[in-house]
Symmetry: C2
Subunit: 117 residues, 2 copies
Protein backbone atom coordinates (compact mmCIF):
# COMPACT_ATOMS: atom_id res chain seq x y z
CA UNK A 1 0.00 0.00 0.00
CA UNK A 2 1.32 3.38 -1.02
CA UNK A 3 0.38 6.73 0.48
CA UNK A 4 -1.36 8.58 -2.30
CA UNK A 5 -2.18 12.19 -3.08
CA UNK A 6 -5.79 11.63 -4.19
CA UNK A 7 -6.17 15.15 -5.55
CA UNK A 8 -3.18 14.62 -7.82
CA UNK A 9 -4.57 11.20 -8.79
CA UNK A 10 -7.83 12.79 -9.89
CA UNK A 11 -5.93 15.32 -12.00
CA UNK A 12 -4.34 12.67 -14.26
CA UNK A 13 -5.25 13.16 -17.90
CA UNK A 14 -6.27 9.67 -19.00
CA UNK A 15 -8.40 11.07 -21.84
CA UNK A 16 -5.51 12.15 -24.05
CA UNK A 17 -4.37 8.54 -24.42
CA UNK A 18 -7.88 7.05 -24.66
CA UNK A 19 -7.89 5.87 -21.06
CA UNK A 20 -4.18 5.02 -20.89
CA UNK A 21 -1.03 6.80 -19.80
CA UNK A 22 2.53 5.65 -20.52
CA UNK A 23 4.51 4.53 -17.48
CA UNK A 24 8.29 4.81 -17.39
CA UNK A 25 9.82 2.32 -14.98
CA UNK A 26 13.10 3.18 -13.29
CA UNK A 27 15.25 1.04 -11.04
CA UNK A 28 15.62 2.79 -7.68
CA UNK A 29 19.19 1.68 -6.99
CA UNK A 30 20.92 1.91 -10.36
CA UNK A 31 18.72 4.61 -11.89
CA UNK A 32 18.41 2.47 -15.03
CA UNK A 33 15.32 2.90 -17.15
CA UNK A 34 13.89 -0.63 -17.20
CA UNK A 35 10.85 -0.48 -19.48
CA UNK A 36 7.85 1.50 -20.63
CA UNK A 37 4.33 0.11 -20.23
CA UNK A 38 0.81 1.55 -20.03
CA UNK A 39 -1.69 1.99 -17.21
CA UNK A 40 -5.37 2.82 -17.03
CA UNK A 41 -6.88 4.14 -13.84
CA UNK A 42 -7.63 0.63 -12.54
CA UNK A 43 -4.05 -0.57 -13.07
CA UNK A 44 -2.76 2.49 -11.26
CA UNK A 45 -5.19 1.97 -8.36
CA UNK A 46 -4.09 -1.68 -8.05
CA UNK A 47 -0.46 -0.56 -8.00
CA UNK A 48 -1.21 1.91 -5.21
CA UNK A 49 -3.31 -0.63 -3.25
CA UNK A 50 -0.85 -3.53 -3.49
CA UNK A 51 2.48 -1.72 -3.74
CA UNK A 52 3.38 -3.83 -6.78
CA UNK A 53 3.43 -2.64 -10.39
CA UNK A 54 0.31 -3.34 -12.45
CA UNK A 55 -0.19 -2.32 -16.07
CA UNK A 56 -2.78 -2.50 -18.82
CA UNK A 57 -1.90 -4.75 -21.75
CA UNK A 58 -2.97 -3.11 -25.00
CA UNK A 59 -2.72 -6.38 -26.93
CA UNK A 60 -4.53 -8.58 -24.40
CA UNK A 61 -6.77 -5.70 -23.31
CA UNK A 62 -6.55 -6.46 -19.62
CA UNK A 63 -4.78 -5.53 -16.40
CA UNK A 64 -1.64 -7.50 -15.60
CA UNK A 65 0.62 -7.65 -12.61
CA UNK A 66 4.25 -7.49 -13.68
CA UNK A 67 5.94 -10.77 -12.72
CA UNK A 68 2.72 -12.63 -12.01
CA UNK A 69 3.94 -15.68 -13.92
CA UNK A 70 7.71 -15.04 -14.10
CA UNK A 71 8.14 -13.95 -10.50
CA UNK A 72 9.93 -10.82 -11.72
CA UNK A 73 7.76 -8.48 -9.71
CA UNK A 74 8.35 -4.77 -9.22
CA UNK A 75 8.01 -3.39 -5.70
CA UNK A 76 7.01 0.23 -6.19
CA UNK A 77 8.77 2.78 -4.00
CA UNK A 78 7.43 5.98 -5.50
CA UNK A 79 5.17 7.15 -8.30
CA UNK A 80 5.77 10.52 -9.94
CA UNK A 81 3.47 12.43 -12.28
CA UNK A 82 4.83 14.68 -15.02
CA UNK A 83 4.05 18.38 -15.55
CA UNK A 84 1.40 17.65 -18.21
CA UNK A 85 -0.31 15.07 -15.96
CA UNK A 86 -0.26 12.49 -18.76
CA UNK A 87 2.79 10.34 -17.98
CA UNK A 88 3.82 8.37 -14.89
CA UNK A 89 7.17 7.29 -13.51
CA UNK A 90 7.29 4.20 -11.28
CA UNK A 91 10.48 4.03 -9.22
CA UNK A 92 10.87 0.35 -8.34
CA UNK A 93 12.87 -2.38 -6.74
CA UNK A 94 13.09 -4.99 -9.52
CA UNK A 95 12.99 -8.67 -8.60
CA UNK A 96 15.02 -10.68 -11.13
CA UNK A 97 14.99 -8.95 -14.53
CA UNK A 98 12.56 -6.54 -16.17
CA UNK A 99 12.77 -7.76 -19.78
CA UNK A 100 11.07 -10.88 -21.15
CA UNK A 101 14.27 -11.60 -23.13
CA UNK A 102 16.18 -12.16 -19.88
CA UNK A 103 18.03 -8.82 -20.08
CA UNK A 104 17.84 -6.66 -16.97
CA UNK A 105 16.44 -3.66 -18.87
CA UNK A 106 14.32 -3.65 -22.03
CA UNK A 107 16.66 -0.94 -23.37
CA UNK A 108 19.67 -3.12 -24.15
CA UNK A 109 20.20 -2.26 -27.83
CA UNK A 110 22.15 0.82 -28.93
CA UNK A 111 20.57 2.43 -31.97
CA UNK A 112 22.94 5.41 -32.22
CA UNK A 113 25.88 6.84 -30.35
CA UNK A 114 27.99 9.99 -30.33
CA UNK A 115 31.40 9.28 -31.78
CA UNK A 116 33.57 11.89 -30.15
CA UNK A 117 33.06 10.76 -26.55
CA UNK B 1 26.02 13.52 -35.88
CA UNK B 2 25.55 10.16 -34.23
CA UNK B 3 26.82 6.83 -35.49
CA UNK B 4 23.71 4.85 -36.27
CA UNK B 5 22.85 1.19 -36.73
CA UNK B 6 20.70 1.60 -39.87
CA UNK B 7 19.40 -1.96 -39.74
CA UNK B 8 18.10 -1.38 -36.21
CA UNK B 9 16.65 1.97 -37.33
CA UNK B 10 14.68 0.23 -40.08
CA UNK B 11 13.32 -2.28 -37.58
CA UNK B 12 11.55 0.35 -35.44
CA UNK B 13 7.82 -0.26 -35.22
CA UNK B 14 6.35 3.17 -35.95
CA UNK B 15 3.05 1.62 -37.09
CA UNK B 16 1.84 0.58 -33.64
CA UNK B 17 1.70 4.24 -32.55
CA UNK B 18 0.38 5.58 -35.88
CA UNK B 19 3.76 6.86 -36.97
CA UNK B 20 5.00 7.84 -33.51
CA UNK B 21 7.06 6.20 -30.78
CA UNK B 22 7.39 7.45 -27.20
CA UNK B 23 10.84 8.72 -26.24
CA UNK B 24 12.05 8.56 -22.65
CA UNK B 25 14.72 11.17 -21.98
CA UNK B 26 17.35 10.46 -19.34
CA UNK B 27 20.08 12.73 -18.01
CA UNK B 28 23.43 11.09 -18.62
CA UNK B 29 25.13 12.33 -15.46
CA UNK B 30 22.44 12.07 -12.79
CA UNK B 31 20.42 9.25 -14.35
CA UNK B 32 17.25 11.31 -13.77
CA UNK B 33 14.31 10.73 -16.07
CA UNK B 34 13.72 14.20 -17.50
CA UNK B 35 10.64 13.88 -19.71
CA UNK B 36 8.72 11.76 -22.20
CA UNK B 37 8.02 13.05 -25.70
CA UNK B 38 7.20 11.50 -29.08
CA UNK B 39 9.16 11.04 -32.30
CA UNK B 40 8.26 10.11 -35.83
CA UNK B 41 10.90 8.80 -38.22
CA UNK B 42 11.81 12.30 -39.40
CA UNK B 43 12.32 13.64 -35.86
CA UNK B 44 14.54 10.65 -35.09
CA UNK B 45 16.56 11.15 -38.30
CA UNK B 46 17.06 14.85 -37.41
CA UNK B 47 18.22 13.87 -33.95
CA UNK B 48 20.76 11.45 -35.43
CA UNK B 49 21.92 13.96 -38.08
CA UNK B 50 22.31 16.93 -35.74
CA UNK B 51 23.12 15.22 -32.44
CA UNK B 52 20.42 17.31 -30.72
CA UNK B 53 17.02 16.02 -29.57
CA UNK B 54 14.11 16.56 -31.95
CA UNK B 55 10.54 15.42 -31.31
CA UNK B 56 7.15 15.45 -32.96
CA UNK B 57 4.53 17.64 -31.32
CA UNK B 58 1.16 15.91 -31.31
CA UNK B 59 -0.72 19.13 -30.58
CA UNK B 60 1.10 21.32 -33.11
CA UNK B 61 1.58 18.40 -35.53
CA UNK B 62 5.12 19.26 -36.42
CA UNK B 63 8.75 18.49 -35.68
CA UNK B 64 10.38 20.58 -32.99
CA UNK B 65 13.92 20.88 -31.72
CA UNK B 66 13.98 20.83 -27.93
CA UNK B 67 15.28 24.17 -26.69
CA UNK B 68 14.94 25.95 -30.03
CA UNK B 69 13.37 28.98 -28.37
CA UNK B 70 14.34 28.48 -24.69
CA UNK B 71 17.95 27.48 -25.33
CA UNK B 72 17.43 24.40 -23.17
CA UNK B 73 18.78 22.01 -25.80
CA UNK B 74 19.54 18.34 -25.27
CA UNK B 75 22.85 17.05 -26.62
CA UNK B 76 22.20 13.38 -27.34
CA UNK B 77 24.89 10.97 -26.25
CA UNK B 78 23.20 7.67 -27.01
CA UNK B 79 19.88 6.36 -28.30
CA UNK B 80 18.61 2.98 -27.15
CA UNK B 81 15.76 0.91 -28.59
CA UNK B 82 13.63 -1.35 -26.42
CA UNK B 83 13.01 -5.07 -26.91
CA UNK B 84 9.67 -4.51 -28.67
CA UNK B 85 11.20 -1.93 -31.03
CA UNK B 86 8.47 0.55 -30.21
CA UNK B 87 10.05 2.85 -27.59
CA UNK B 88 13.23 4.92 -27.59
CA UNK B 89 15.51 6.15 -24.82
CA UNK B 90 17.57 9.29 -25.46
CA UNK B 91 20.49 9.63 -23.04
CA UNK B 92 21.31 13.34 -23.02
CA UNK B 93 23.33 16.19 -21.66
CA UNK B 94 20.66 18.73 -20.68
CA UNK B 95 21.39 22.42 -21.15
CA UNK B 96 19.49 24.43 -18.49
CA UNK B 97 16.32 22.61 -17.47
CA UNK B 98 14.10 20.07 -19.23
CA UNK B 99 10.69 21.21 -18.00
CA UNK B 100 8.77 24.22 -19.28
CA UNK B 101 7.81 25.02 -15.65
CA UNK B 102 11.45 25.72 -14.82
CA UNK B 103 11.93 22.45 -12.91
CA UNK B 104 14.93 20.37 -13.96
CA UNK B 105 12.80 17.27 -14.67
CA UNK B 106 9.14 17.12 -15.74
CA UNK B 107 8.65 14.46 -13.03
CA UNK B 108 8.75 16.71 -9.97
CA UNK B 109 5.42 15.78 -8.35
CA UNK B 110 5.05 12.76 -6.10
CA UNK B 111 1.73 11.00 -6.65
CA UNK B 112 2.30 8.11 -4.23
CA UNK B 113 5.01 6.84 -1.95
CA UNK B 114 5.77 3.75 0.15
CA UNK B 115 5.37 4.56 3.82
CA UNK B 116 7.65 2.05 5.45
CA UNK B 117 10.88 3.24 3.86
Amino acid sequence: MLNCDRELLNSIDFEKGKGLVPVVVQDEKSGSVLMVAYANREALEKTIETGYAHYYSRSRQKIWKKGETSGNVQKVKRILLDCDSDTLLYVVEQEGVACHTGEYSCFFRTLAEREDE
